[in-house]
């Protein structure tokens, strides 16, 4: 035995760097590292990669686990950064195919208001002006602002960290301006019509906070990426994206182990020295990139005496964001006959997003949710003549902490039933007559598969005190430890989580060059 209390005979091998977790953040990091020629071991506790980006089978349906619309992919003539990353990995164009989502989203409200919003900068602008002609000027200015934000983001990205705040303020003032504003505060500069704001805000569930609390930077960045590069979906579901990344990682010399649950991060002289698995196996290393959420990494995997209190405060201060509640439905009928006219439909029981958000703090059915009907863009996602429909809403995971275990299934069924009723009342009155499979995922399910605290799907809340500039960065609690995933950098969502992995890997590589590791 030694300082870290592990059995020396259980040391399996040694790597310069180990990545814990083959979720999107971990895969982003692992792939970035092998592209730079690093020798990497990737450890995954499940027997499949992907984290939330996976799929599962029920009966004759294979359900997409999490992805609705992938951003930052683009087209052949306008490639997004994520697409270019996949290109460098040799995944696209030959090993993975994407389909483009034709429209941005459809929104239905319980009063019958039903609109479909197109993708594309011009189409989007024109549609908003057509729907709200009196707000024409505000809409145009709003879009100009969005474009200015995009220019600012591209400027910052191009500088690779070498820029001064003064420079940004001078050249791209919208970036610092919107960083401290809520989305509602930003709207006030452009619009008067509440309905217009409701329509633009429909994606608020992707962030997890209503406009009155969402950091404007986070929302505008997401919006402008969709408008500029469109939305895509990988053939084979998100699981084919993550599996392709693992394959590319292995082909570039990386090694992966499944069923490898890391129990402890080993420390020597205050620095990372290895990891110990639950089964007792030990891998030595100089650096760990953790895709496990920072709270779990810091409080459960590290020896507590090495963690500075200041770091603990940093990870505990931001509020933990909402978890998800999803109902995966297989229908024995075609979507064409059921009234699902778009890939992504936001269903609203009310216009007031604050009230809808308050509802996420109760163990009740939601007032706002999204219905993804994949067959539109991906006919073969389910057997001929059937439809795959996934209803997703948000819910604070904490609510489930104190329920009686024997009430779990009852509560799960009750909330799922309410979500199906919302579809019944707005889009498809006869939906229940065609259901072949209906399985729900609760915050507990999200916790169980990701170990994210409270099952949070986007990490900590992205309010004004926790926007992209102020959010936890990749530098971990002790030297040699790096955090990636939705809890860090630019927050939750597929492309931003993948990006966080690349950022974490970059930080490690920088430290290595500087001789810090």
């Amino acid at each position: 035995m030694n300082i870290n209390n592990y059995d020396e005979s259980r040391v399996i091998s040694k790597y310069p760097v180990i990545v814990i977790g083959a979720g999107l953040g971990g895969l982003g990091a692992a792939c970035q590292l092998v592209l730079r020629g690093e020798k990497v071991l990737l450890l995954e506790k499940h027997n499949v990669p992907g984290g939330f980006a996976t799929s599962f089978v029920r009966g004759r349906f294979e359900f997409e686990g999490a992805l609705h619309e992938l951003s930052d992919i683009g087209t052949k003539n306008n490639k997004g950064t994520l697409y270019r990353f996949l290109e460098r990995l040799g995944i696209v164009p030959n090993k993975l195919e994407f389909v483009q989502v034709p429209e941005f989203y459809r929104s239905v409200f319980s009063d019958g208001y039903d609109i479909t919003i197109p993708l594309g900068m011009e189409e989007y602008t024109n549609k908003l002006i057509e729907l709200f002609p009196s707000e024409k000027r505000g809409i145009e200015e709003f879009i100009e602002m969005c474009k200015a934000v995009l220019a600012g983001i591209l400027f910052i990205a191009s500088k690779g960290g070498r820029f001064t705040p003064q420079e940004v303020l001078k050249e791209h003032p919208w970036i610092p301006r919107i960083s401290g504003l809520t989305l509602s505060e930003l709207y006030k500069k452009f619009f008067k019509d509440e309905k217009l704001m409701a329509v633009i805000s429909q994606l608020w569930g992707y962030i997890g906070l209503p406009p009155s609390r969402t950091n404007a930077y986070t929302y505008i960045a997401m919006l402008i990426f969709y408008l500029n590069w469109g939305a895509a979906f990988p053939i084979g579901r998100s699981h084919s994206l993550t599996t392709s990344m693992v394959k590319a990682f292995e082909e570039l010399g990386g090694e992966i182990r499944y069923n490898a649950l890391v129990d402890r991060i080993l420390v020597e002289d205050g620095k990372v020295s290895g990891v110990k698995l639950l089964n007792g196996s030990v891998y030595l290393c100089k650096a760990v990139i953790s895709n496990v959420n920072p709270i779990c990494t810091t409080m459960k995997m590290l020896p507590q005496d090495v963690v500075p209190d200041s770091y603990k405060k940093m990870i505990y201060t931001p509020e933990i964001g909402p978890s998800g509640f999803s109902v995966y439905i297989g229908l024995n009928a075609s979507y064409r006959d059921l009234g699902f006219t778009a890939h992504e439909t936001f269903i609203n029981d009310l216009y007031d997003t604050n009230k809808a958000f308050e509802n996420f703090k109760k163990l009740e059915s939601p007032k706002y949710m999204v219905a993804a009907c994949y067959n539109h863009i991906y006919e073969d996602i389910s057997p001929p003549g059937t439809t795959q429909l996934v209803l997703t809403t948000l819910q604070m995971g904490k609510l489930w902490q104190n329920i009686a275990p024997d009430q779990y299934f009852h509560l799960k069924d009750k909330i799922a039933d309410g979500m199906v009723s919302l579809v019944e009342n707005t889009i498809c009155p006869e939906i229940r007559d065609y259901i072949e499979v209906a399985v729900a995922a609760t915050p507990l399910t999200y916790y169980r598969y990701s170990k994210n605290m409270e099952g949070a799907i986007y990490g900590t809340t992205q309010d004004v005190t926790n926007g992209p500039l102020l959010r936890l960065k990749s530098r971990g609690a002790i030297p040699g430890l790096y955090q990636v995933g939705a809890w860090t950098n630019f927050g939750g969502g597929f492309s931003t989580t993948l990006l966080s992995g690349r950022i974490g890997a970059g930080l490690y590589l920088g430290d290595k060059i500087k001789g810090r590791i």
Partner: protein
């Protein structure tokens, strides 16, 4: 304009200060649950069970009662109709089989499992003959998709059971009866002879006390003196019992031959596909009689299974013998040289616990088993239900 920009920027600086201040005053928690407790309670990785009671249900079927072997670990809750994967160690061979929970989900002080002794079987004769009170077993968390789903099953349910297939329905009927759920149930229960009707006393008691539960016994090999229904569970018998198929949801649990027969009968009655649920089929008694089996295969043929795995720091490679009419997992479990354990639960290809990388070879999988598309593309298989029809190369070094 300049002023407005500065005002906005000040807001950012204020947010930054607010964040710093919050960090300064934040208390340091000593423990953070984050849903870990509930997760361990509902989805324990493993459960350790102690046999407290054994009872004959019939001449060839026993009921085992288990309590949690660990005082601090209560049994996981379940939905009536679910099963657990029970691990057994028979002469050094570690394997598992799924068994439906028979007991009511409304109490978690014990689980009950019913086991019918299958002649020529490996696990069930062992359980039937050897298990005694005080023995300890490891089981999975409750699994499975056979349960009443209020979202779409409606109020009228038809349970069709064959033999030992009554076990999940017992749990469901106990639940419905105890909670007085407002459901209408028709149980059509096929057995061989009168002495094979399991739980008859309790079923008759439930039927007497609950007018919403109707039970029909059908015997395929009745002895003289049986006054009830005889023969197979045909469409005529089903219809005469339930009057109409309208708005009814059908659950079927039995053996593969019964599934195939009842499936045709329900189709003939016009029951739509999405209103019928079949319990996981399990491993067929005779794979060569399953639809799609490649007839040209010589069933006596032995195949070579090459397995690469890791044992501590070293990579090892072994070759074991397998049979094309037996699932790969069974051969792997019998090998004394394979030093890794492959998790398993359902033995039907639905739980994905045993997902394994196949480097080369050809397998046969029964047609009802659905596997992830990507797993097909990247050649991952479920060895619990995969039959090797050529030599096979498996890579377990990834785990």
């Amino acid at each position: 304009m300049e002023k407005e920009i500065m005002e906005d920027v000040k807001k950012y600086q204020k947010a930054e200060k607010l964040k710093k201040k919050r960090e300064e005053v934040a208390p340091l928690p000593w423990y953070y649950d984050g849903l870990e407790n509930l997760s361990n309670r509902i989805h324990p990785e493993k459960q350790s069970l102690l046999v407290t009671d054994i009872e004959f249900l019939s001449h060839d079927t026993k009921l085992f009662r288990f309590v949690s072997a660990k005082l601090d670990k209560p049994l996981a809750p379940f939905r009536a109709g679910m099963y657990v994967g029970l691990t057994v160690d028979i002469n050094g061979v570690r394997t598992s089989r799924p068994y439906s929970l028979v007991s009511s989900p409304n109490q978690l002080s014990y689980y009950e499992l019913g086991v019918r002794k299958k002649e020529g079987g490996f696990v069930s004769p062992f359980l039937f003959e050897n298990v005694k009170i005080g023995d300890i077993f490891e089981v999975t968390e409750p699994l499975g998709n056979l349960y009443y789903n209020p979202i779409f099953h409606g109020k009228d349910l038809v349970f069709i059971a064959g033999g030992c297939g009554i076990t999940p329905f017992m749990s469901m009927l106990r639940d419905i009866s105890e909670k007085r759920l407002p459901l209408n149930i028709w149980l059509i229960f096929g057995s061989l002879t009168e002495r094979d009707i399991l739980f008859r006393g309790e079923l008759e008691d439930i039927q007497k006390r609950r007018s919403n539960i109707k039970i029909k016994y059908i015997l395929s090999e009745p002895t003289p003196g049986w006054k009830g229904e005889c023969g197979f569970i045909s469409k005529e018998k089903i219809l005469s019992e339930i009057a109409s198929i309208e708005n009814k949801y059908f659950f079927i649990v039995g053996n593969r031959a019964m599934y195939q027969f009842v499936d045709e009968e329900l189709k003939a009655l016009g029951v739509p596909k999405h209103r019928v649920y079949y319990e996981a089929f399990g491993v067929p008694d005779d794979i060569t009689r399953v639809m799609g089996w490649p007839r040209e295969i010589d069933v006596s043929k032995k195949v070579q299974i090459t397995v690469e795995f890791r044992h501590h720091a070293s990579k090892e490679k072994i070759v074991i013998e397998g049979s094309c009419i037996e699932p790969l997992l069974n051969s792997l479990e019998r090998s004394k040289e394979l030093k890794v354990e492959i998790a398993s639960g359902c033995r039907s290809g639905e739980c994905a616990y045993c997902r394994t990388k196949m480097v080369s070879g050809k397998i046969f999988v029964p047609p009802e088993v659905t596997i992830r598309e990507v797993d097909k593309d990247f050649s991952y298989i479920h060895p619990c239900i995969s039959y090797p029809i050529t030599d096979i190369h498996l890579d377990l070094t990834l785990t």
